[in-house]
Subunit: 434 residues, 2 copies
């Protein structure tokens, strides 16, 4: 049998008979002709059915039935994309057993988000929905490619751990052969440990947060794009690498997901050569002076302050991105490196994208004694962390890193109102299936 | 300050002063000269210390102290790799606080595996140990690159699931906000579902198996290289793609981990253009005829039969790889597609590499009614699987896929006696840390 080709490749075969395979996406029955829209893994194509017997057979099938079609490729300015298939021979590979719960052929899916998520196996087939996951795939690959170019090594670290990473709360407990264990909230300890091995490492893997709130911004399981690098000057070295990684991600998306971008009508943001930077304390001063709100004694930025700063960066620097550095130590985890000049502030940063926090990173402590002191100051027991602390006992360079939430990145990029829209099979307080 | 360069790049700077950063890997004190061996994330370099004060200062440091060294690059045929650093100025960035638990400078680590794993933060720094993880990283990238070339889309699917994938036993239970849940044993259901979306998908992610046995071949958490593809003829289409993927993986390792291969003295295996194939029933006949063991009524191959078949493939075809197809349905999971001609056998396969099982794959059922029957025949309840079964209700093409265990692949490749040697932080019956 003739080799099937993708619908997106028929332009290279005008005047030839080709074989296509895919799903019965839609059937438009006019008086003298029927148009079969076939969807495959890449795109859609229009097939002109003039044979009334075939038209009738197709009309008897439910949408989403799986077909194989052989036909002649014809250039026709009237057809979508200027090409269509004529004189088709259709084989039904697997009929759908019921009408789909919603119409996949409409430009936009007409169902509420919970329904779309309940029927993910079907809703994800919609061209606009799946475009989001092509952007997601290209984002992962862009992250990896940018870091490989910078000599980072990919690692995979365990997700079942003996102690919580970011603190005792918000962990999922596992029964590990009768012993208590947890799902990793981040690969933080492991990626730092691996700086002692490769200096520069990255990981793309799931992380688990048992946060009991149900918001459009939170998931209980998400994909974390993590990196860590040694021999830095301070957190500014990490911020420069973040800029380089974001540029690489946007570049890879534009190369590998060009069709998807068109489908969701997305123009990729410009990543400035140097993303503007503001110190946390200056940000609060600015908010006091220009916004009129006095938050100068707050240890963190509120969502409304983040939004205001995002607008300010847009006005001031024509940048959709803003790096805020120097968050107070009190709000950062124990491994955070203080600012040597002002030790109440940290060498850490957040990246705001369109006024929303997208990335958190910073310089970490690298001296063993500093770890012991930091743990003691927070009343934490160093004993369960001995495998991690070993890395610092035996010589570690100044280092730092960051983590980007993949789904959060894509959600911000496409301006999805709910992060679940850019998650294949989301997990939240009320959702564990499909 | 001058930009640091990698030790592996000093050959491009002969006659220049450069800055290097890394760990005090070893110090060899001779009568008139001291050799400092500096290790960075990529390699080792020899630094000639003639200044007795500096030699004394270095001798006072523990191994693994972190240094920054500025010095003159000199070609010297006596030196390792023919290059060394002279006239060094050394800055101690972070002294090690204790002597390492074993000597990292010896060609091979002299400690038992449990000790090496307990001190993973240190043992992984050994050049030969870390070389294994460069091969592992290149394997992941080779898998992805080969499949991207074949138009596969990368996915990330949830690891917290409501029901066990491969059967009820051997799952880790989680407390999911008070509801019972499990860690995914494989992304099987999700990758099949995604065939309905993209036709061709792959995932590189952890899987979790609560198998209570402690062997050199098993881990309770490992990285699974998974793929699934639609519109196949039968399992043979999947086997051909597997061959293509293995070729890609070996190619990428040879390109991206050339130094690591040298360090562990590994010659990569040849992947035949067509890997020899034997049917399960023929394999048992052959074992009966030539090995003299009658296992013709067994539903599976024993490890000793697999080894014998591996040797046979080597003798018969000069191939280290052998594909065994047609395993009995009774030993395969419910979603396995039977051989239409002999329905007691399946359209599934195992790949043996050097006589050991490395990959499992096959064609899956694609008709909704076949799923209902298969579940009923095994006494399984379809209700909890409704999100998965939706994919088949609404039209799915013939499809199949395979999974390669990353650690198993690397272990076989480098002939590691224990799979834990090629796992950064292994998880087993007795090990949950570091």
């Amino acid at each position: 049998m003739q080799q099937r080709i993708w619908t997106t490749c028929i332009g290279e075969h005008i005047g030839e008979r080709v074989r296509l395979s895919g799903w019965l996406h839609h059937l438009r029955q006019l008086r003298h002709v029927t148009f079969l829209i076939l969807r495959d893994g890449k795109g859609l194509t229009q097939i002109v059915v003039e044979d009334p017997t075939l038209a009738e057979q197709l009309a008897s099938l439910y949408h989403e039935s799986v077909l194989s079609v052989e036909g002649l490729v014809i250039a026709n300015p009237q057809a979508p994309n200027g090409i269509e298939i004529q004189q088709p021979i259709v084989e039904v590979l697997n009929p759908s057993t019921a009408p789909p719960p919603f119409d996949l052929f409409r430009p936009t899916l007409k169902a509420q988000l919970p329904t779309l998520l309940d029927y993910a196996a079907i809703s994800l087939r919609h061209p606009q929905r799946r475009a989001l996951f092509q952007i997601s795939a290209a984002s992962m690959e862009g992250f990896r490619a940018a870091l490989r170019r910078e000599q980072f090594v990919e690692i995979q670290t365990p997700k079942m751990v003996a102690s919580a990473t970011e603190g005792g709360a918000n962990v999922f407990a596992i029964n590990y052969f009768g012993s208590p264990a947890y799902l990793a909230q981040s690969p933080q300890f492991y990626k730092q440990t691996m700086v002692g091995v490769f200096e520069r490492v990255f990981e793309v893997a799931p992380v688990f947060r048992a946060e009991p709130h149900d918001t459009p911004r939170h998931l209980n399981e998400y994909v974390s794009l993590d990196m860590e690098m040694g021999f830095i000057e301070n957190h500014r070295t990490v911020m420069a690498m973040l800029t380089c990684v974001l540029q690489g991600m946007v570049q890879t998306i534009s190369e590998q997901a060009a069709e998807a971008l068109k489908l969701v009508k997305l123009t990729l943001p410009q990543i400035p050569a140097a993303i503007p930077i503001i110190h946390f304390s200056e940000a609060l001063e600015l908010i006091y002076r220009e916004m009129g709100e006095d938050a100068r004694h707050e240890p963190d930025l509120s969502p409304s302050h983040e939004r205001w700063l995002g607008e300010w960066a847009q006005r001031q620097y024509q940048s959709e991105f803003l790096l805020v550095e120097g968050y107070p130590m009190v709000k950062r985890p124990f491994y955070t490196h203080p600012d040597p000049a002002r030790p109440q502030y940290s060498n850490s940063f957040d990246l705001l994208f369109r006024g929303l926090e997208l990335v958190t990173g910073g310089q970490r402590l690298h001296r063993y004694d500093d770890y012991l002191q930091a743990l003691q100051a927070r009343g934490l027991n160093p004993e369960p962390l001995s495998g991690y602390l070993d890395a610092f006992k035996y010589g570690m360079p100044p280092h730092g890193g960051f983590a980007i939430g993949l789904e959060r990145w894509v959600a911000r990029l496409v301006e999805a109102p709910n992060i679940r829209e850019v998650t294949l099979f989301p997990r939240d307080l009320n959702r564990l299936t499909p």
